[in-house]
């Protein structure tokens, strides 16, 4: 019973999490250049190929040129991918082969703080990736409203969400191969069916309902609103759903990793 309570109680997370975040930051700063190029590369290719290339053949969507339509989605998806890679492959390496977690939890930093610190770091990397795209989109003249400033805190929440979700996968993964399921079954469909590349309005009702369960859908909707300055009260519902999903996944991920490591 005691063990049960220990596993499921609300974790106390103190400054130890920040120490772990700092550790990851130190490592990143050593190799940040290639990392940033990685963040930039793919989304910019999409933006150019699909936005300018394909966009030439596609009529405006609700009065918006295609490239402007897809830019917000490419931004949130690049945050998603970056956070997911960090907290699957990166965290799994630190947790298993490198034994970094083991080394830290015999210091005053607790296991919960280690997991949280790693998630915060994944979120930070996600936010950095998104920020890079935001700067590019601004340079391309694709941003139409000062509301876009709110994208920054939103990216932090999004980063937390996907870092936590990935940490759940890390807790469950027997080997690296397991992450193929995650990226193929969850992340890739999310990338394609969250309204980044085409509006979901024209789809049958069941498909729209299904897309509501994809957290990325809500993030795309909110970000698009902020990019265009078209704000509607319903965005708060989208935001609440994102936050709820983040809190739950964060909690679940800590519980699961703890259960995996503490025997």
């Amino acid at each position: 019973m005691n063990a049960f309570i220990n596993t499921f109680r609300i974790p106390y997370i103190g400054d130890g999490a920040f120490r772990v975040w700092q550790r990851n930051g130190n490592v990143w700063l050593k190799f940040y250049r290639p990392s940033l190029v990685g963040n930039l590369g793919e989304p910019i290719l999409y933006l150019l190929a699909l936005g300018y290339g394909l966009g030439k053949f596609i009529p405006d969507i609700s009065g918006i040129p295609y490239i402007q339509f897809i830019a917000p989605g490419l931004l949130v998806s690049s945050t998603m991918y970056s956070a997911c890679f960090e907290c699957t492959f990166g965290s799994f390496t630190r947790m298993t082969t490198q034994r970094t977690y083991d080394a830290i939890i015999v210091t005053p930093v607790s296991i919960e703080e280690v997991i949280a610190g790693d998630i915060f770091w994944g979120a930070t990397k996600g936010a950095i990736a998104g920020l890079v795209i935001l700067l590019v989109a601004t340079a391309f003249g694709l941003v139409g409203s000062p509301w876009v400033g709110l994208v920054l805190p939103l990216l932090m929440v999004e980063g937390l969400l996907f870092a936590s979700l990935s940490m759940v996968m890390t807790a469950l993964a027997p080997t690296y191969d397991f992450f193929n399921y995650f990226f193929t079954i969850a992340i890739a469909p999310m990338f394609l069916f969250s309204g980044i590349f085409f509006p979901l309005d024209e789809f049958p009702a069941w498909a729209k309902t299904a897309s509501w369960f994809l957290p990325l859908t809500h993030l795309v909707t909110i970000t698009r609103g902020l990019f265009l300055g078209k704000l509607h009260i319903s965005l708060l519902i989208n935001l609440s759903l994102v936050i709820a999903f983040t809190v739950i996944t964060f909690y679940v991920s800590i519980t699961l990793v703890k259960r995996r490591l503490i025997k």
Binding site: A103, V106, T107, P108, K263
Partner: protein
């Protein structure tokens, strides 16, 4: 004497499989206390409970009077840990490893920098300061682990098999460093299955087997209590050894047969040897009793895997 670590009826179960079976021990200030036992005896598990890594199933452990289950942060702030398997941070250099580790203890940067410098020179790694972990030898990694465990200036360090897998030179250097720490007053709890290590470092030993402490005492005390003072090993088959045993009837000794060897334990080895040489003059080893004899006698000679 001040008690630094105390365990009472300590039990650990993994999926209701009991691997530590209600053990008791205490470690005094300034002492080097060793767990000696074959693989799977429960040494690592016991030490993991002391360092707040593995939750305790039953019983309790206090470190500096603090219950490890209730005050893990306070306990961990005061101890140094050297794990059985190297877990240095491969993404960082030697210097960075120690600096980043210092931060986990909330040691201010300036203080840490001085401390790291001292520690690197103590473990003779000053010239490897900017090396990546990958390029260190096994012995250097172990020494760096020792430096890392000392970063918070702990009064107690816990070492799990500190020289496992090292060559003799590297091992002796580590022993020398650990003796230096001991002379400086640091309390140590270590586990090992190397007899020489136990004899070199430990004031007191607990011999563990199958989750229990089966004997406890100083190395010398254990030797005199369990095997006497001298050992004679005779390579010999069954029939010949019967004949030899017969010829020693009027002497005080105990014996053990293991495969191709007959072991005689006695306090009057010299006279026994003379007698034996009358019937057999070759392949006799006559030597002082060691911890290894105690260990094998208590934990058995069969392979533990």
């Amino acid at each position: 004497m001040d008690v630094v670590v105390e365990a009472r009826n300590l039990v650990k179960e993994y999926n209701s499989h009991r691997v530590v079976k209600g053990i008791n021990f205490s470690v005094c200030k300034g002492e080097c206390f060793g767990f000696l036992g074959p693989n799977g005896a429960g040494k690592t598990t016991t030490m993991s409970m002391i360092i707040c890594y593995t939750p305790i199933t039953k019983g309790n452990v206090t470190v500096f009077g603090l219950d490890v289950g209730r005050y893990p942060k306070k306990v961990k702030q005061k101890i140094g840990v050297i794990p059985q398997e190297t877990n240095l941070d491969p993404d960082l250099t030697v210097f960075e490893n120690l600096m980043v580790y210092a931060r986990y203890f909330n040691i201010p940067k300036k203080v840490a920098r001085n401390r790291v410098k001292e520690l690197l020179s103590f473990v003779q790694l000053s010239d490897k300061r900017d090396e990546v972990i990958l390029r260190l030898s096994g012995g250097m990694k172990r020494r760096l682990l020792i430096a890392r465990s000392l970063i918070n200036d702990p009064e107690l360090i816990i070492l799990d098999e500190p020289t496992i897998g090292l060559d003799p030179q590297a091992r002796h250097l580590i022993w020398q460093k650990l003796r230096q720490l001991k002379a400086h007053g640091t309390t140590m709890v270590l586990s090992t299955h190397y007899m020489e290590e136990a004899a070199q470092l430990c004031d007191r030993l607990a011999i563990m087997d199958q989750g229990q402490i089966i004997a406890e005492g100083s190395p010398n005390h254990l030797i005199t209590e369990f095997v006497g003072t001298e050992v004679i090993e005779i390579r010999s088959d069954g029939q010949e050894s019967n004949y030899i045993l017969d010829s020693l009837k009027e002497h005080q000794f105990s014996f053990e047969r293991a495969a191709d060897t007959l072991f005689l334990y006695s306090r009057e080895g010299g006279r026994l040897v003379q007698k034996i040489k009358e019937v057999k003059d070759e392949r006799i080893i006559y030597r002082p009793a060691t911890l290894e004899d105690v260990f094998l006698k208590l934990t058995g000679r069969e392979l533990k895997e």
